[in-house]
């Protein structure tokens, strides 16, 4: 395996087209996923639930609301959050460097934390620190996923990873499971919805998003859709050589996420951090170790 040097052979046009498709499709897909999520959740709670398009109604409504801000700046950080989330998606779906995409996502995350810090509200501030704890729990596994995929496919570039002819999952079952564990954190689902939750019943009111109102909150929601699509894309990579299986697994994984969301109370941060790191260490790093030993 030699160091992958960018050889510039990929087609610029196709990258641009992929990015444009992503820009348009991702929010639609993300919104629909979130709508389906709400319906399935409702059914699990023996309710009927809202229409599938509900997330879109919500966002459109939010755009029509008054733009309440606490100070001049805090809305702009949310915008940055959105921009960088989209950027990370573009890097990913444009076939770019996976590490870079993840780093862009981290930057996006930092911006949302900053937005909360900027808002000068105690609940948002505590939410911000909790979000940091969530990042601390989830980030290692995300990056490790990139490393693991590299070890199997020999490239950090998504465009090359999907061209692989072996299925990463077969080599990386542990990494895959740990990633799904971490996915719950990234999707802000129970039991890891510590920093902000979809429903209002939380000790931090709305945590991080307490001060976002109207359009700012809409940006946040849209960014969350992009984020969801990105994360599911990451899951897909494990089955990239069999696209149909990949899509099925993505659907399955999301269903499991909904199930987990519904059968758990919220963890406290200590348990989150410990369990996430343990999962990363045992399943993720352990998997790499095995790979390393077996390759001899």
């Amino acid at each position: 395996m030699d160091i992958n040097v960018c050889n510039g052979e990929c087609n610029v046009m196709s990258v641009i087209i992929a990015v444009i498709i992503f820009l348009i499709l991702a929010p639609l897909v993300g919104g629909l996923i979130s709508g389906a999520d709400r319906i399935i959740t409702a059914r699990m709670q023996s309710r009927v639930g809202p229409p599938v398009l509900q997330p879109f109604y919500d966002v459109l409504k939010l755009f029509g609301k008054q733009n309440l801000v606490v100070n001049k700046y805090h809305g702009d950080y949310v915008l940055c959050f959105l921009i960088f989330t989209i950027l990370s998606g573009c890097i990913f779906f444009g076939g770019g460097n996976l590490l870079l995409a993840i780093f862009a996502l981290i930057v996006a995350n930092v911006f949302i934390v900053l937005a909360a810090y900027c808002s000068n509200s105690p609940y948002a501030l505590i939410g911000a620190d909790r979000e940091l704890l969530q990042m601390l729990s989830a980030e290692p596994m995300l990056l490790l996923t990139a490393v693991a995929l590299f070890q199997v496919t020999g490239s950090f570039n998504v465009s090359e990873i999907i061209k692989t002819n072996r299925m990463p999952f077969i080599y990386l079952p542990g990494v895959f499971i740990a990633l799904t564990y971490i996915l719950t954190i990234k999707l802000r689902k129970s039991p890891f919805d510590l920093s902000t939750s979809h429903h209002g019943h939380q000790e931090l009111v709305k945590g991080l998003t307490t001060e976002f109102a109207g359009p700012s909150l809409a940006y946040f929601e849209i960014a969350h859709w992009y984020e969801t699509v990105f994360m599911l894309g990451l899951v897909y990579l494990f089955f990239a050589n069999v696209p149909i299986l990949g899509v099925l697994v993505v659907i399955g994984v999301y269903f499991i996420e909904i199930l987990i969301d519904n059968v758990n109370a919220r963890f406290k941060w200590e348990l989150m951090l410990k369990s996430a790191w343990l999962a990363t260490l045992i399943l993720g790093v352990g998997n790499l170790f095995l790979l390393y030993i077996l390759s001899f």
Partner: protein
């Protein structure tokens, strides 16, 4: 102090069903200090006894709180009946117990839901309340109200339940119990529930007694005390033992309630078997003279009605000491040193009901 996080918790706060305020002083997420502030629901309704007749005061008593409104009525009415030396028909007494225990079931399941919600367990919340709706249906069928029942009156009860209806309701209750069993299992076994509740908000046996805790809060700290053991009303003819837990934490408090629901189902069955036909009220003549401290057990613990009549239709004093009032000092003790995330769980664990605390 400048180094600590200080946040206002309430009065408006999504995990608080009712307005109460705490100044929380935190270090990281540890609660160092919690100073309560009450009075958001204080209406001063005890003074209504100077404007409403003692009979209308039953309606007021039932609206002290909408969760166990019926038992409030019972507590008050028993005080008046003692003062006026009224002989209440046995059927009425049994019906009071029936509705009272049904209230307990509805109240406890409501609590279980809220408690699950306080730790972010939304679907369990939903399922608990789904089961609770079945109980409310029975209430609506028998009293006409879903949460405010207006079923008791001085000297008896207002509504009777016909034989067939009663039998049908008992069957319905079996179904409710079956459904309840499923969610009760979750409260007993679930991993995250245990993670969030065990060893959280510990109130030692000693402190529980010293600080005057009542109801499930007290029983979860290993003290066997239940005002129903005074055997007031038809409880005289009913067998039961107070339910006690010994781990003294939020989990124990939930367990006590989980088990009390089963106990209430049992008491209702005893009621059904022991109830006899007859009148449901006696005629009330004259006005109350004298005083009495009437004590009954609510879902949240012992409630005390002090009534003092002076021979007119207006009472001299109408006073309620509600269970939550007695549980607030223990609550403050439980809060010290917990995590911020535990604050809602602990507050809910005493099943606070502020409306009757502040009246």
């Amino acid at each position: 102090m400048a180094n600590r996080t200080i946040i206002p918790f309430g009065p408006q706060h999504p995990v608080l069903p009712e307005p109460i305020h705490l100044d929380l002083v935190l270090e990281d997420e540890k609660v160092v200090e919690a100073i309560p502030n009450v009075g958001f629901v204080h209406r001063g309704l005890e003074l209504l006894c100077q404007k409403k007749s003692f009979q209308d005061m039953v309606l007021v008593a039932e609206r002290i709180c909408g969760i166990c409104s019926l038992i409030h009525g019972v507590g008050f009415v028993q005080g008046i009946e003692k003062v006026m030396n009224l002989e209440v028909p046995e059927r009425a007494l049994f019906l009071r117990v029936f509705w009272g225990e049904l209230s307990r079931i509805h109240s406890h399941i409501l609590w279980l839901g809220l408690a699950a919600d306080a730790i972010g367990f939304e679907s369990l919340f939903m399922h608990s309340w789904r089961v609770r709706e079945m109980v409310l249906d029975i209430f609506e069928e028998t009293t006409g109200g879903r949460v405010i029942f207006d079923a008791v009156k001085v000297g008896g009860v207002r509504k009777d339940i016909s034989k067939e209806t009663f039998t049908r309701i008992m069957k319905q209750l079996d179904k409710v119990e079956e459904e309840y069993k499923q969610i009760a299992e979750v409260f007993i076994k679930d991993f995250t529930i245990i993670h969030r509740w065990s060893n959280v908000g510990v109130l030692s046996k000693e402190n529980a007694a010293k600080l005057g805790a009542v109801g499930p809060t007290l029983r979860a700290s290993g003290i066997k005390s239940d005002t129903r053991m005074l055997k007031y009303g038809a409880y005289e003819k009913i067998d039961f033992e107070p339910i006690v837990e010994h781990t003294c934490d939020c989990y124990a408090r939930s367990l006590v309630r989980v088990k009390e629901v089963y106990q209430s189902f049992d008491i209702i069955r005893q009621c059904y078997n022991k109830i006899s036909e007859g009148e449901i009220e006696t005629k009330v003549t004259g006005f109350p003279t004298g005083e009495f401290f009437s004590r009954v057990e609510q879902p949240r613990g012992e409630v005390i009605y002090y009534v003092k009549g002076n021979g007119t239709k207006f009472l001299d004093r109408f006073r309620v000491r509600t269970p939550t009032f007695a549980n607030i000092p223990p609550l403050l003790q439980m809060l010290a040193g917990c995590d911020l995330a535990d604050v809602p769980a602990i507050i809910i664990s005493i099943d606070p009901c502020i409306s009757c605390t502040e009246r």
